[in-house]
Amino acid sequence: MDASQDEKIVLPGHTPRRVKVYLLNGDDWIDNGTGYCIGDIDTETKCPYFLVRSETESNQIILKSFLEGSIQFQRQQETLIVWTDLTGKDLALSFQETEGCADLCEFIVKMQQANYSPNISLYFVIPNAVDGEDVTELITGPITYPEDPTDTNLTKILEVINQGSNSQYSRNNISKFIIEDNYFQKLVDTFNKAEQSKQLNNLYILSEIVKSLFLYNEKLLVEDFLQSEEKILALVGMLEYDSEYPKFKACHRDFLKAKSFRSVIPIDKINIFKKDFHLNFLKDVVLPRVLDDQTFNMISTLIYLNQVEIINYLKDSSVLESLFQIYKTSSNTELKRDGVQMLHQYILIAKSLQSHLKLGFFSLLVKSGLFRMISFALKDSEDKIRVLGTELIVIIIEQDVSLVHSIENEETIDNSEPPTHPVIEDIKENDEEEASEIKLKLSDDMTLISILTNLLVEDRNPGLKIQAVEALRILLDSNIATSSSRNGSGTDYDSEDDDELNDFKDINTKNYFRAFYTQVAPLLFGKLIEIAKDDKNLPIKMSHSDELLYQHLCDLISFCTREHKVHISRPFFLENHILLGIVKLLEGNCKMTVKLSVLRCLKNIIILNDTFYCRYIINNRILSYFFKFFENVVDQNTLANSTCLDLIEIIVKNLQGVSKRLNYKLLVKHIYSNYREFFETKLSFFITGRVLLQLGANGVETRHLKDDSDYEEDDDDTNTNVISNGIKTDELSLSDDEILEHNASTPINDEDDFENGSQEERPDDSISEKRQREETEEETTKRKQINCAVNVNSDETTPTISIISDFSNGSQKIALSTGSTNINEA
């Protein structure tokens, strides 16, 4: 019993399957009766056959048909097997169940492949809904293999190869044949002969053969092609010829031969590195026109797998150790430069790997002495090397900012006093020995930030400045303490790796950012501070390098004021009159790009909706610079003009839109009383300008513009009353004098107290400050909720419109969620 069951499982065709037998008569299929079908082998002739016994009378045989000769069986629509037997009869078995049909098909396959009937074949017919033409796929059958290549049979070989490409079955078999028979080597020999004897036509055909073989999409085949240098050269050589472009010939071989693999330190497993290069060369240079999407993906996968191997090799061998040793012991500058380029190359590779591999590799780099290399690179006289060095930093901290702090992991993290002198000088003064070990830890050590600041301010290479800014933005991210593994999803690496990283999450950001604002920011924003102090410091003619610097500084101001806790960042920007510094650039003799950066920065500050900045802007008449600039461009339709209009638009929109509006009311009032004429004479074309005038004329009472009946009570009012020191300040009657009384410096001093350690409730101003912060948090929560609502949909392939409530004014707003993966096509 057991044995027979086993047998059933092993051999297909033994279970009787219910079928209807049809015979074709003219154009009609005639039902020949219903019964049970099995597949069996004739004991004497060893010829397999189908046998169908009637379901009513098991002795009656409806059909016995041999699987012989070169009969082609077709499986159609999951439950049909159709064929023409050797006598020319068209037969069909219609199975009751898919399973039955599959079983008998399996029987056909077994019989063909076990050589009982080697010449029969089975095709699967897949109906094609698109254009009605069916697709047939060979499941089993005799395979025609290409014969050994000669001068004269290449056309035939190409035909065989192309025929074979029609089914996975034949592709597998031919690929296997080519590998086992070392067939490609034979093609290589033929190619070399053909080239010697200038048989152009044969060269074109060989090229076609190779292209067809690539489209087989077989990994093993591609690996076979790349097995030896000789094969690789011949392979790309064949692909230099193309019958479609008979006038042209590519020169892949010249390139490969001239290609230098520059070796930095001895490596024993050199083949994986060469393979990486060759695969990429094929994918990017030789084959892009030939590859279809699947083959492209197959080669990309090969590249990826090999790169994993490379990175694992680098991790496990002593290569990294010897590499970084160079920066301790060697005096060979060229070698050191090559080392930087080499590592950069592999870090780019690692960047594309899965996050646990990448993270493991990066953290090993850091431990093995990466920063010795970086400190060499950043001081090198060659632009290229400095650029690469900075890029290394950017890539590493983009991945996980805590990596740069992990060197000092034995030391406790904070509580050390900030160094009293700028660290940047330290580095310059330090001799080779000490400078080679840059110490990096978060607490208050500004070494890395200082280096980057120095690059941004002093280096003349424009690309390097951008890189430095990118790195600074990551290092100055307010979530730096919690942002371990920024790019990794944070869940897919195992906990072992995690442990060592966790040590650095506990970072005292307060000291860190305070150190930044006391030690580095004065240098970073130094030029602006000077300009704010004295107009004489305005550059008469600005260098290109400085133009770029000021643009970057404007971006950084926007970034810092938005990202950092106000009580740490704001005092710096206000006390040093940074805003005054930037708007003075509007008067200076500098490029429009710089001036527009200034306007954008100013706009970003205004969007902060911060009472202190707002009052600063009003009290220091910051907008007078803006309007002077605006006046110059008001008649043009240029980007400058649009940027100015945008700034006005933002103020008015916010006044009408956000819930905490006092700052915007003050700004509109300030603008109305000082620049009204400008609006009336120059901006009459601008609707928002007219709205502003109306708001100003009405005493900034937006309520009048709206329908009283459904307008919510403005929650600002309570806020307004306490906003400045308990004095009742009806928003509409706040006079300039009153504003001046509470100028920016008063609250700043309080902030200083705060810095001295009194974190408890502060009287007076703290109330308004605290209230503001509470509101911000509340707003943040709301925003998060909204984002969640939107994100829920972002996984779906089609974007969805979600109606979400805009909490600030009770109106409804439509948000379109856009999953970035959806952005397809042109």
Binding site: F261, M592, L639, S820
Partner: protein, 306 residues
């Protein structure tokens, strides 16, 4: 110092352009672009071109088809980069011509002129491969931010030119003026829609399968044409096998200028010449076979270190 004519020739022959020259070129283009309006006003006659997508040799054919710059005035509707093998060279050539003949060459922004999109669709990788660092990509992205968003050809009753299409947030051309366009293309809002939307047989507005922008129907087109005193919307952004396709009673046309798109779509391309009477003349052209000449097409220019 940059020698423009020489650089133009070098670019056409796919010769390596030094990083410092690219930076200088980008800086110069920005100085010009900053003087332009969000919607540029352009006089007739002008030849309007659609997507290029890094097909440098087809771009050269385009100039042969439409007439060389500066003899012919050109307006390119964006999507200069990505997909093709010569994104950098194509964009450099257009920038160089812009600097050389500022009044004869207008470039507006397509949805591919964006940091996010170029990192996915090839331009970023191409710069990396050709220079070993991505600073060249960074310079170009900075230029992208300054590109105008659209153009109006021929003043009143003329042609509104944009890469993608209309936006439910924008009823009038004037509204576009109040936009600080110097930013990465946002994920939503008017500026995004102008670069991402597509015309379709829908009533009013519909969600776009692209995940950004909208689909807009004939009604919206008619409203926009009428409200802004415009006779035609010329846009690109979608592959059309015939090179161009008019829709909505000839109120809108899609112009596509990348023949045999991605080197395998088998389409022809076209440019649209608008004359002083606002007559439309479509000039169709086919893919260049010259491409093969320059193989290896994506030759890595940097050393490989072991």
């Amino acid at each position: 110092m940059l020698n423009l004519d020489e650089t133009i020739e070098n670019i056409k022959h796919c010769k390596h352009v030094p990083e410092s020259d690219v930076e200088e070129l980008c800086t110069k283009v920005i100085e010009l672009l900053i003087q332009e309006a969000n919607i540029q006003h352009i006089d007739t006659p002008v030849t309007i071109c659609g997507d290029i997508h890094g097909q440098l040799h087809d771009l050269i054919t385009l100039f042969k088809t439409g007439g060389e710059c500066p003899n012919t005035q050109y307006l390119f509707l964006g999507d200069f980069v990505d997909r093709g093998f010569y994104s950098l060279e194509s964009f450099l050539l257009l920038m160089a011509l812009k600097v050389r003949y500022p009044d004869r060459m207008t470039l507006i922004r397509g949805n591919h002129e964006s940091r996010q999109i170029t990192t996915v669709y090839g331009f970023y990788d191409e710069c990396m491969r050709k220079y070993g660092t991505v600073n060249v990509w960074r310079y170009c992205c900075e230029v992208f931010d300054y590109l105008s968003l659209g153009a109006i050809v021929g003043g009143k009753g003329g042609v509104f030119c944009i890469h993608g299409g209309l936006s439910p947030e924008i009823d009038t051309v004037d509204q576009i003026r109040i936009l600080d366009r110097k930013q990465e293309v946002p994920h939503e809002g008017g500026m995004c829609d102008l670069l991402w939307s597509d015309p379709e047989d829908v009533n009013g507005w519909a969600i776009s399968p692209r995940g950004a922008g909208f689909l807009f129907g004939e009604n919206e087109v008619n409203k926009f044409l009428h409200g802004n005193n415009i006779s035609l919307i010329a846009r690109a952004h979608q592959l059309v096998m015939e090179g161009y396709k008019e829709m909505f009673n000839s109120g809108l046309v899609t112009v596509w200028s990348a023949p045999n798109y991605c080197y395998r779509c088998g389409n022809v391309a076209s440019v649209l010449a608008i004359d002083d009477e606002l007559n439309r003349d479509y000039k169709v052209f086919e893919a260049s076979t010259q491409d093969i000449n320059a193989i290896p097409s994506k030759k890595p220019a940097i050393d490989y270190f072991i």
